[in-house]
Symmetry: C2
Subunit: 895 residues, 2 copies
């Protein structure tokens, strides 16, 4: 049996390991080996395998026989290769020591830098850098890191001594009340070092090790012991990580960019991270260390200047760039250091980029044959698409300015930004907009009555509610900037002001909302408008060709329908009929008359009045969709949402309707419900008042017939909400078909239509086999299905849901179940319903029309469960198209 | 092949068919054959088989060859046997014709009586009965029945003519503005008959058939055709009745009790239906027909008088009594007619009986070895038990008196009756009761704050809410008479009055509630108090020996616990901790202080205050239950249920708490929720405020430890409500166990306890495998589980649920899902959860603690799904015990 190898060396252009040996070398060690192998000038070093860690714990905390020798051999090899020696008084070898398992894992030991420094070698570093203060400071840091990280000395103990020096010496010398670490000078550091060593000795009972070999053994020990640290063990338990052997230990040569004018350090991107252009882009500081770059005291020079100063190094860097893109097939973010004219690549990783750049790089790389179209599609995220569509606050505005105007923070419900004058009523929003103002509507909360004003406003701000409150849901449908749940806001409707603490904003004052972060600013900040780059069109075309899942949209008006088609919608998955009733005063009064009717007769009359409005809307929508399927949901919300609740408004309504006030008041109070979400709404309205169904179906079918006669293609799908029983659906579907047939007979034309149901009540999902025999399609209403399955009202969840999704607190749910489908719970119910439904009726068409239809993880769920389509708000249509393509690549399905 | 037999004769002591031939002879035909076979003097007749009907529809609506001959033969046989002939001018044979399939089925033809009458035979009937008016009226009825039922002449057409005679002749003759059918005399009937025959001819185009044979063929035709009547076909479709051949036709000799003084008609019971005594009991009218008994004009004589008048007939009847009880092994309700000294048994069926009689008869019959104990158990219904326990309005109060005092009708939520003086506030109810008044508490709706007053009152009446409203649920727990949803009620709290229309009831006026019917009377009616008969104890002992399912109870106080144990409870399945906080002002203030606390510190202080109260309650309950398991649910309702909502009350509270009013108001308004059922409640309170859990667990465990030290056995089971996730339960169960261990250490004693969860959120049921790994028991909270699974708030369902359960309207649900478990939907979820839970944890204890635990059908469901126990309100414990025994008999399970 061959002897086991415990240490893998890398450096000088080749490595003993490679990128595939993650299990043995850990992620970091395998990466260093890989970079070395592809010829990058990586600092040399070696990796102690995970098997050593495994052996250590299996053998009563001892190292395998022969390990010491192998370690010595590798140290010698490293010294030879880099031409430096541990503890050298002129040019000492310094190394970093890092842990690294096959999977990244919090709770294990972090980096120890500058290992190898001692009272002798610190002078060597000082000579090489001609900066004694730097060398002493590096030594100080090493003592603290080694003491605290490897030996468990409380970091505060070191800090106390450092602070003492600062107080006693630095402050006195500078005669300032505040001093920084960087103010401490050479002498003061020289005084500090023996003090720190004493702290070390007091705590550990041992002298601080001067021998770099001993330092190294201590650091290796510390890394291996950290594998069993409580935090790391807990993490593996919680995340169910099993089967790992242990951690590897990486020992790597330290390099310094502050060794003189032929040294430097920098960061570069293989392509422009903000435009995506295929140009080399980067900054560096000459004669400087990483810390100097972070401190931002000196201004960096550009990469092209390096070409002038050190053309050889620049050419080498260009080769690295090419090599890295070839190898990793993605734009890279590279950290490098030049030590005395020698280039070292310290790290490379996929570079962060702007949304525009994401598209440009993905599409360009396909053209350059670096990646396939499928890979390009997988590289784009939903955030990339969002970033292209919404206006944003000009990123060049300095942070201090933002801070100065900061007013309050709520929950960012719809991304993007908006600015305008504050108004406090929907009516004002409409009127001010009509006279040319840009306004932001501010409300405690919004209701369906506010929809007109919400539409008119540039942005919406509410004091209450979460991401799925009325305001958020409606605004999301339009892609309109919206901040909700801004709880510090004190709104005074009568005084027309809002206050946070003592800061008051009055009607007409300008504010800006950041819908991505939830911030509110008390001025009109500069916004940058969105513009779609050509790469977007190319990539989305590819995505459309790949995907199988259809993408529809949730819209209620012809205007929104047209917009959604432009964004790629292939049909309407949810057309809510209730919003139509708030469009004008005329309509509002008609629906209110219907609701307050005291008998079937007057109710029917009021419904007759509404019919032409609805019909006109449906015709507009059919025209806009031009033959694409249009799913129309019959009236869904509880009726009290349509009527006013203040006495004044009720009095006004009584006058308008010619009804006694007390009667209006009484009828409205009768509509009150304890839990309206679970009340008299949805198809239950049609069971108790079948004339509501009759009128709506008539309006849909008359519109469809008239469109067809005009040569417009139509494909209406009539959808019944809140179904919980097969017999219930049977009764209503039959009535729907009877009305439809009657209308077609009257109109003398036949139109293809279908009748289906939302699945949004858990019972409907459980009985999907019976319901599937009657329905022609299922559309999962995952908003309500989530509320009912979790027993969680989205309007009220704000007080406890944050704790549930916050990993640092209870962390019970992985994500907000109203944002991304709860696949474990609700998903199980949906799976069951799909299987039962399709078994009973193989031709059942299945879609989703909840908020989740535009969430990539939920779209993937739909792909895997054989849905026919997803439907989402227009502004999420592109995201859903992309997600559907990605899902098809990951979970291919037959077309 | 033997020739098929189409007609089965019965009469003269023997029948060609028997009771098992339901498929061939229909239920009715088989019953008639059976009665004949066991030697009862049943009128003779014959049954045409269902195969004839089948043949008819398979052969283009024709009768099988040979059928006519067989029919003639049977008519002749019948004429010979009874000694009468069709159409005889002196003593005609008359028959009834009835349909009858193997299963009873609405929509088919009903009875035609007196077939065989014509212008000649009517005179024969007149002679025999010496009552020409009777004979003519029978003829009139026959023409109408035959015309409308068999030939489809609109019944109104006949009615119009009858009314015309009444208007034109009877009214004029009697000089009265109102006349009844019985006022029409012989001459007027004589005039009417040719007119009715003309109506018949005008509609059918044929003369009314004079030939009884032709009449009979017409009636047979009509019965067979009614098999395919739309209503019957729909019924079979809806009820999924398939595999039936068709309907049979029963032709039976008519007998008359008005043929002179040796004739008569009556009804008797084989035992006393009100006491259950084994004595023969009955009434009869001599020389009278069934109609005369119904009309109630003449006073009937008792059975013992018959012994004197017609001793032979009486002895025969006694033999019938014995024979019937032997044969049917149950108390029978017998209809008989004596025609000229000859006894005919027209019908026998299991007799309706009072609750006391039910128990007495069942127990007696076991002693008489007529039935087994199991059969005795199966004979008792939940209504029988209810009837024993609740006071009722004296049934001897005449209907007119009830009518006179009728005030309003609501929904009967808890059966029984109550009377007392009206009060409108819970406080008044307590105060008036304290000074010795009997009161009925009247509220628009009740809330937890009213519980004290509700308990003090004799009965509760609310204007809103359904059977599962707060008032109904709380009252049911106490078995206290309660009427809810009395929507006509106009309550004026300030004026202390309630009105229905113009009738006003003031505070202090007496009313009576009938909790079974929902009626409200505006006086104090006489009530009869319940008393348990000895047979009850005997039968319940048998039931307890039989059943496997344990029966627990839902109670919150030591007093109720003791009561429940007396009623047979074997543990507490649900002890709600929230009601404890309303017991006194002191407690109320403490919980309110806790809720309005602005930080953890003050919240903890307030909780400390509550701890001793809770502990005292728990000790009382443990003492009452003496070692029986006690499941205690941690705080469940949303916090706003504990605080006042009017400005005055809030001001008062602010004073009591020493907090500024605006702060109290703001903090309370922050508690407002849109859908409180799905809000911040249940275990969510413990996730956000873990100190609530700590205090409650501490109170439970301190109480348990102290009890144990005093020698009282304790078995606490700590239950977490509204769990929806395994991790959520894991966090809370761990914290619960930590607190419990800490308390036991402090107290120096160990107590056996367990930690489990309610399954009331659909997600918890779906993920029962994961949750089952952590919980030691599941208790299905079917109230909330039903609300969430059906998406139906029980507080709001009143506006549509009646339509859903009303068979005459939509008829979507078979029963109110809040009364009896929705086995199709919610049941499916429960089944799944039980299977998953037990698979993950075979020792999982499973129970139910929703309202359904006391519903017999739901108890059977629990038996079939391997539950360990059911838990219900104390007053339903006996019902559950019985239902559990019945379920074990029907669906035996291993012990």
């Amino acid at each position: 049996m061959a002897k086991k190898k415990f240490i893998y060396f890398f450096g000088g252009g080749k490595a003993e390991g490679n990128g595939k040996m993650k299990e043995l070398l850990g992620g970091k060690g395998a990466g260093l080996a890989e970079m070395t192998n592809i010829g990058l000038p990586v600092p040399a070093g070696f990796t102690i395998t995970t098997e050593v860690c495994d052996y250590y714990y299996r053998h009563n905390r001892t190292y395998p026989p022969g390990f010491d020798k192998e370690l010595s051999r590798n140290i010698t090899r490293l010294e030879r290769l880099v031409g430096k020696r541990f503890g050298d008084p002129d040019d000492p070898l310094l190394v970093s020591v890092r842990s690294g398992a096959a999977r990244s894992m919090p709770g294990m030991m972090e980096t120890i830098l500058n290992l190898g420094l001692n009272d002798v070698s610190v002078e060597g570093l000082s000579k090489k850098t001609t900066n004694r203060r730097f060398a002493l400071d590096a030594y100080r840091r090493f003592i603290v890191m080694y003491g605290s990280t490897a030996k468990g000395v409380p970091r505060e103990r070191f800090e106390e001594e450092f602070n003492d020096i600062k107080e006693r010496r630095t402050k006195v010398r500078l005669r300032r009340s505040t001093v920084f670490d960087t103010d401490v000078n050479e002498e003061e550091l020289e005084e500090l070092i023996p003090i720190l060593k004493k702290v070390y000795k007091d705590h550990t009972g041992e002298e601080f090790p001067n021998d770099p070999g001993e330092q190294l053994r201590g650091a290796i020990d510390a890394v291996i012991r950290s594998w069993m640290a409580e935090k790391a063990v807990t993490y593996r338990k919680v995340e169910k990580i099993t089967g790992l052997k242990g951690t590897a230990v990486n020992i790597v040569q330290m390099v310094f960019g502050n060794m003189g004018d032929n040294s430097g350090t920098g960061v570069c991107f293989t392509r422009d991270p903000s435009t995506g252009e295929n140009t080399f882009y980067g900054d560096l500081l000459m004669n400087a260390q990483g810390e100097d770059v972070v401190a931002g005291i000196r201004t960096p020079i550009h990469l092209k200047d390096l070409e002038r100063i050190m053309p050889k190094v620049y050419r080498q860097l260009c080769q690295v760039r090419k090599k890295l893109e070839r190898h990793y097939r993605d734009m890279q973010d590279i950290e490098f250091t030049i030590e005395e004219g020698k280039l070292y690549i310290l790290q490379t990783r996929a570079g962060k980029r702007s949304p525009r750049a994401s598209f440009k790089i993905a599409v360009d790389m396909v053209k350059e044959r670096l990646i396939t179209r499928e890979e390009a599609i997988l590289r784009i995220t939903d955030k990339d698409i969002e970033g292209l569509f919404y206006p944003v606050i000009d990123p060049s505005i300095p942070k201090e300015e933002l801070k100065k105007y900061f007013f309050a923070a709520g929950i960012g419900a719809v991304p993007g930004a908006a600015s305008g004058r504050v108004v406090f009523t929907a009516k004002d929003a409409e009127e001010w907009t009509a006279r040319g103002e840009r306004v932001v509507l501010v409300r405690k909360e919004t209701s369906p009555e506010d929809v007109g004003g919400m539409h008119a406003a540039k942005g919406i701000l509410t004091a209450t509610g979460g991401k799925t409150s009325h305001a958020a849901v409606v605004a999301r449908g339009w892609g309109k900037c919206c901040v909700v749940g801004c709880e510090d806001l004190n709104i005074d409707y009568e005084g027309k002001t809002m206050k946070v603490g003592n800061t008051v904003i009055k009607e007409g004052d300008e504010i800006t909302l950041n819908g991505s972060t939830g911030e509110v600013f008390r001025t009109a900040l500069r916004l940058i408008d969105p513009e779609l780059p050509p790469a977007y069109d190319t990539l989305m075309k590819w995505a459309d060709r790949v995907r199988v899942l259809k993408v529809r949209t949730n819209v209620d008006t012809p205007y929104d329908a047209e917009n959604a088609v432009r964004l790629g919608a292939e049909g309407i998955g949810l057309c809510r009929t209730e919003h139509m009733f708030f469009d004008t005063d005329e309509r509002r009064i008609a629906i209110q008359r219907m609701i307050l009717a005291e008998n079937e007769g007057t109710r029917k009359e009021a419904l007759e009045e509404l019919l032409p409005f609805q019909k006109r809307d449906f015709m507009g929508i059919f025209r806009a969709m031009d033959g694409k399927p249009v799913t129309i949901r019959l009236l869904d919300p509880p009726l009290h949402e349509f009527v006013p609740h203040t006495e004044d408004e009720q009095k006004h309504l009584a006058q308008m309707l010619g009804m006694p006030f007390h009667q209006v008041k009484r009828n409205i109070s009768r509509l009150h419900e304890t839990n309206p979400m679970l009340g008299h709404r949805g198809c239950r309205l049609c069971i108790t008042y079948p004339e509501i169904l009759d009128t709506q179906v008539r309006a849909i079918m008359e519109a469809a017939c008239e469109c067809k006669k005009k040569g417009i293609k139509v494909l209406p799908e009539i959808m019944l909400p809140l179904i919980m029983d097969a017999k219930e659906l049977g009764i209503l579907a039959q009535r729907t078909r009877e009305v439809a047939e009657r209308v077609m007979k009257e109109q003398g034309v036949r139109v293809k239509y279908s009748v289906g149901t939302m699945i949004e009540v858990p019972r409907a999902a459980l009985l999907a086999d019976r319901i599937g025999r009657i329905a022609e399609f299922f559309s999962f209403g995952t908003n309500d299905l989530t509320q009912m399955t979790l027993g969680m009202s989205r309007d009220d969840a704000g007080r406890f849901l944050p704790e549930y999704v916050d990993e640092k607190k209870a962390g019970i749910l992985k994500t907000d179940p109203f944002q991304s489908l709860d696949q474990e719970g609700v998903g199980l119910l949906i799976k069951m319903a799909v299987q039962k439904g399709r078994k009973a009726n193989p031709s059942l068409k299945i879609g989703i029309c909840g908020e989740h239809g535009g969430d990539p993880a939920s779209v993937e769920f739909c792909q895997r469960n054989d849905f026919d389509y997803v439907s989402c708000s227009p502004f999420r249509v592109p995201i859903a198209r992309l997600a559907a393509a990605q899902a098809q690549i990951r979970w291919p399905r037959k077309r």
